[in-house]
C-alpha cells in the first residue's frame, strides 16, 4: 500500500442487521419451572442429592458432582448481597435501564450459590456487601428473569 493513500475517503463497510439473528432460546424444563414460580412470586431452586448444594438459579445438573439435581426446594424471598457494582454511565448492553444501575449477586436464604440481578428501591451509595435484601416482583409477569423487578433492602 502506498504511504500517501487517503483512507478517509472509504467509509467503514456496514451491512446492516444481517447478523442480527433473532434467536429464540427454549428455556428448558428447569428454567421454565423457575420462571413459572416467579410469576406466582415464589423462588424455587434445585438441590444436588450428592453434595446437598442448593442452586439458585436452578440447574439440572450439579457442576461439582456431575450428578442430577433432582429435588426442588422453595427458597425464602430474602437474601444477602455478596457482590455489586454501580454503573453510572450508559453502556450498550444495559439497553434502557435507568442510571445509575446497581448490578448485584444475591445469595438467597437457603441457597448455596448467588443469583445475578439488580438492586433497586434505595440509593446506589447505600448498597453494601452483606446487605440484606428481598425480592420485589413485577405485577404483570412476562415469564422470565425480569419477573423479579429488583432486590430491595429489607
Amino acid at each position: 500500500m502506498s504511504v500517501d493513500q487517503d483512507l478517509s475517503k472509504v467509509k467503514p463497510q456496514v451491512y446492516p442487521s444481517k447478523i442480527n439473528v433473532p434467536y429464540s432460546w427454549w428455556a428448558g424444563d428447569t428454567a421454565a419451572r423457575f420462571f413459572a414460580g416467579l410469576s406466582e412470586k415464589r423462588i424455587e431452586a434445585t438441590r444436588c442429592e450428592c453434595c446437598n448444594k442448593v442452586f439458585a438459579p436452578p440447574r439440572k445438573t450439579c457442576p461439582e458432582c456431575f450428578a442430577a439435581c433432582q429435588t426442588w426446594v422453595d427458597l425464602a424471598l430474602t437474601g444477602t448481597v455478596t457482590g455489586f457494582t454501580v454503573a453510572r454511565a450508559a453502556r450498550a448492553a444495559m439497553g434502557g435501564r435507568k442510571l445509575p444501575a446497581v448490578f448485584a449477586l444475591v445469595k438467597l436464604d437457603g441457597a448455596d450459590t448467588a443469583l445475578l440481578h439488580v438492586i433497586g428501591g434505595c440509593a446506589p451509595g447505600d448498597v453494601r456487601i452483606g446487605m440484606r435484601v428481598k425480592a420485589r416482583f413485577a405485577e404483570e409477569p412476562a415469564g422470565g428473569i425480569l419477573d423479579i423487578l429488583y432486590f430491595e433492602p429489607v
Binding site: M1, Q5, L7, P12, I19, Y23, W25, A27, G28, A31, F55, A56, P57, P63, T82, G83, F84, T85, V86, A87, R88, A89, R91, A92, A93, M94, G95, R97, A101, F103, A104, L105, K107, T113, A114, L115, L116, H117, V118, I129, G144, I145, L146
Partner: protein, 381 residues
C-alpha cells in the same frame, strides 16, 4: 515431556482502529514477521492453529476466513475459539502427539469494528442473565468490589497497576497507550463502573500475533535462540458468576500448580524472573499475581507499592505495558507469551528485566477469569 521451543514470534502494532488492514491482513503481517524471526518459510510449518471468535469478527466460522493469511493451504488446520494462549496449548499438544514437528499459531481481534459491550453481554446466559444488561466491564467491576471488600485493597492500589503498566508501555513500540501517569490521574479519570475508573480498564484494540512452536530437532533449523516450554497448565471454573468465589481465582491456582509441577517450580515468588499477565483490569493483575503464588493473598498491592513488580524490581510484571496499554482480545494471551519470549531472549530493550531465565505468561478465557492457561517458559532447556 519432550522438549518443545518457541522459535518465532510476530506481533502487529496494537492500535485503537486499524483502518488500513482487515483481520486477515493483520494476521498476514504477524505470520510474516514470525517466519522472518525464525528464519523459516511457510513450507517449514507442519500444521496451523488459528484462534478467533465469530462474534468479534462478525463472521460465521471466521477461522476459515483467516486461513489464507495463516498459510493453511494444503496443511492440517484447526481452530480454537477463545484466547490465543489456549490456541498455543493446542498447538503444543499437536507436536507432542508425534504427528507434527512444527505448529504455527495465530490469533487476532479487531475490537474497533463492533460494540464491545454488546459482544461481551452475549457471553452471559441468555435464559437467566443476559436481559439484566451486564457486560465484561460491569462483571469485572463487581469482581473488583468483592476482591477489595475481602482484602482491604484500595482504589489507589488499583491505580498503581495502571501507572506502572502505562509507564512500561513507553518502551514498547507496539503499545497503543504508552502514558506517564500519576495515581491521581487514574483516580481522576472517569468513573466507569464502581470501583473501576476509565484508566483501570484496558482499551478496545485491534491487533494480531503469530507464534511458531517446534520440536527440539526442528527447532535447530530456526535462526533464533529457542525459548523452551518448561511447563503449561489450564483449568476452568464454573460458568455462572454466582457459582464462583469471584475474589479467589482457584482455577488459576490449579492451572499454575500443573504448570509449576512440570517446570519444577516450587517457590514461584523466587524462581520466576518475570511475568506477563492478563491485566484486562487493574484489580485482575493483583489477583492473578496472588493466584499464581507470586505474592500472598491480598498482599500483591503492598509489593507493587514497594516496586517489586517494576521493570527494575525483583519480579517485573507486564514490563511490556500489558493489556492496559493495548488489548486485542483473543490475541491477548498469545501476545503475553510473545512478550515473555522477547524478555527471555534479552530483546526487550529499555524494558529488559535484569534476570530473565524463567518467565510466566498467562491467557484468560471467560468472564472474570473463568478459565486460565499458564505457561512457564525458559531460556535454558
Amino acid at each position: 515431556m519432550e522438549n518443545v521451543a518457541i522459535v518465532g514470534i510476530g506481533m502487529t502494532k496494537i492500535e485503537a482502529a486499524k483502518v488500513a488492514e482487515n483481520f486477515a491482513d493483520m494476521v498476514w503481517e504477524a505470520v510474516g514477521k514470525a517466519l522472518d524471526d525464525a528464519g523459516l518459510t511457510i513450507d517449514d510449518i507442519d500444521n496451523v492453529i488459528t484462534t478467533s471468535n465469530d462474534f468479534w469478527d462478525g463472521r460465521t466460522i471466521s477461522c476459515m476466513a483467516v486461513g489464507d493469511a495463516s498459510g493453511v493451504r494444503n496443511k492440517n488446520c484447526s481452530c480454537v475459539e477463545g484466547d490465543g494462549a489456549f490456541g498455543a496449548f493446542y498447538g503444543l499438544t499437536r507436536i507432542l502427539s508425534g504427528s507434527y514437528g512444527t505448529t504455527l499459531v495465530t490469533a487476532h481481534s479487531k475490537g474497533s469494528e463492533s460494540v464491545s459491550s454488546l459482544i461481551t453481554n452475549a457471553a452471559f446466559d441468555p435464559i437467566y442473565e443476559r436481559a439484566l444488561g451486564l457486560d465484561m466491564v460491569t462483571a469485572a467491576a463487581l469482581q473488583a468490589n468483592v476482591y477489595m471488600d475481602r482484602t482491604g485493597v484500595r482504589p489507589e492500589d488499583l491505580a498503581r497497576v495502571s501507572v506502572k503498566n502505562h509507564g512500561n508501555a513507553v518502551h514498547n513500540p507496539n503499545a497503543q497507550l504508552p502514558m506517564k501517569l500519576s495515581v491521581s490521574d487514574v483516580l481522576k479519570s472517569e468513573m466507569m463502573v464502581d470501583p473501576l475508573h476509565k484508566l483501570d480498564c484496558s482499551p478496545v484494540s485491534d491487533g494480531a500475533c503469530a507464534m511458531i512452536l517446534a520440536r527440539e530437532d526442528r527447532a535447530r533449523k530456526a535462526k533464533t535462540r529457542p525459548v523452551w516450554v518448561k511447563g503449561v497448565g489450564f483449568c476452568a471454573d464454573a460458568y455462572h458468576l454466582g457459582d464462583r468465589d469471584l475474589a479467589e481465582p482457584r482455577s488459576l491456582t490449579a492451572a499454575a500448580k500443573k504448570a509449576y509441577g512440570m517446570a519444577g517450580i516450587t517457590d514461584p515468588a523466587r524462581q520466576i524472573d518475570l511475568a506477563e499477565l492478563y491485566d484486562a483490569f487493574t484489580h485482575q493483575e493483583l489477583m492473578w499475581i496472588e493466584g499464581l503464588g507470586m505474592a500472598p493473598y491480598g498482599k500483591a498491592a503492598e509489593d507493587l507499592e514497594k516496586g517489586r513488580f517494576d521493570i527494575g524490581g525483583s519480579l517485573p510484571v507486564n514490563a511490556s505495558g500489558g493489556l492496559l496499554s493495548g488489548h486485542p482480545v483473543i490475541a491477548a494471551g498469545l501476545i503475553r507469551m510473545a512478550e515473555a519470549v522477547r524478555q527471555l531472549r534479552g530483546e526487550a530493550g529499555a524494558a529488559q528485566a535484569s534476570k530473565a531465565k524463567t518467565a510466566v505468561a498467562q491467557g484468560v478465557n471467560g468472564l472474570c477469569g473463568q478459565s486460565h492457561c499458564v505457561w512457564v517458559l525458559g531460556s535454558e532447556k
